[in-house]
Symmetry: C2
Subunit: 187 residues, 2 copies
DNA sequence: ACCTGAACACCGTTCAAGT
DNA sequence: ACCTGAACACCGTTCAAGT
């Protein structure tokens, strides 16, 4: 005798995202998720192999959302230099909106195996802009330089690593200008 | 009647570092540490407030070691451009030697409160070189740009984020050259 | 003054039994 | 076919009792 579904994978992931942001990774508990969606913890294992898979799904949803934001930010900017700046600011503001999830996605050694497609999608915009800016030949190296700086900066900011005072906003804009300048193909 | 000490904080931290590297953060267990140093888990609480403090001590030891490496790497290089390159390569090679610890120290939202002094010490070398390279006025912004790129690159490399093929070594050297070039004070 | 066994709360996960 | 209670192993942590 079938039982009607009392929850869904989407609902579970959404609950996970919310719990992650409010209580950190250690607050993302199978029990807490189950409570949120209105089932008992064992039932979650019908939709998800184990907790690590749930974390991976949460990370994936985060990456997909970030990808959307990047597309949107760069869409209105035909000039690659302005597009790059818009994209960088979009990442920073996204991280501020979802600090914990951003931290999980970009923390080294998190070991979530993410869907390659969502990852490719999220980096496509950066690569495209890097190609326009630096030329096809240097596109990959340029994109990696920008992405590393951007993830590094935002990650450090999130963990409060900029402890020496000064103007962090200015340092961010300085980084954008410096990199844009350096990567622009010299005529 | 006093009991002779059967372990020490140093021994506990050393065991923690070893366990962290071999079994990840989840392998760094109070029980496992206790086994390593030859006491029962409750005894650890005589030297350490709780597990999070132990993790913080492990992170701190890692940062101090990294600071030493940076000093050593930059020491032999009077030319700031070469010093910066040496320093960047030293960070990358350090991270390869202690990937998990590096990940913990530089993962956004790790929320370890580290000793400000060890942090200052680890960043002092970068700031000094940045000042020589970019001038005193731009030193902080320049140091932040370099540090962000470096942490970001190494972190991404550790988590296997460079999935699009290409030569990652070349991308690293590309980043060094690009940043050094861009940050050098124009005559 | 340090160390220990026992105990507690909490977690992830499994599984047989229900519908 | 999904859901549940019960159970298990494993944590971190506390504490009274030992030496």
């Amino acid at each position: 005798m079938p039982t009607p579904d009392r929850t869904s994978l989407d609902e579970i992931v959404a609950a996970g995202r919310s719990l992650l942001e409010s209580g950190g990774l250690s607050g993302l508990t199978m029990q807490a998720v189950a409570d949120r969606v209105g089932v008992r913890a064992p039932s979650l294992y019908k939709r998800v192999r184990d907790r690590s898979e749930l974390v991976a799904r949460v990370a994936e949803a985060t990456i997909r959302e970030l990808g959307d934001r990047l597309d949107a930010a760069a869409a209105g900017e035909p000039d690659p230099r302005r597009a790059l700046a818009a994209l960088a600011r979009a990442v920073r503001s996204f991280a501020r909106g979802r600090p914990v999830a951003f931290g999980v996605v970009f923390s080294p050694g998190a070991d979530l195996d993410l869907d390659p497609e969502s990852l490719a999608r999220a980096s496509a915009t950066v690569i495209r802009i890097a190609a326009e800016l630096a030329g096809e030949e240097r596109a990959l190296d340029a994109a990696r330089t920008v992405t590393a700086w951007l993830n590094g900066f935002v990650g450090m900011e999130l963990s409060g690593a900029f402890r020496l005072g000064g103007d962090v906003d200015r340092a961010f804009e300085f980084g954008i200008v410096t990199l844009t300048e350096a990567l622009t193909r010299r005529g």
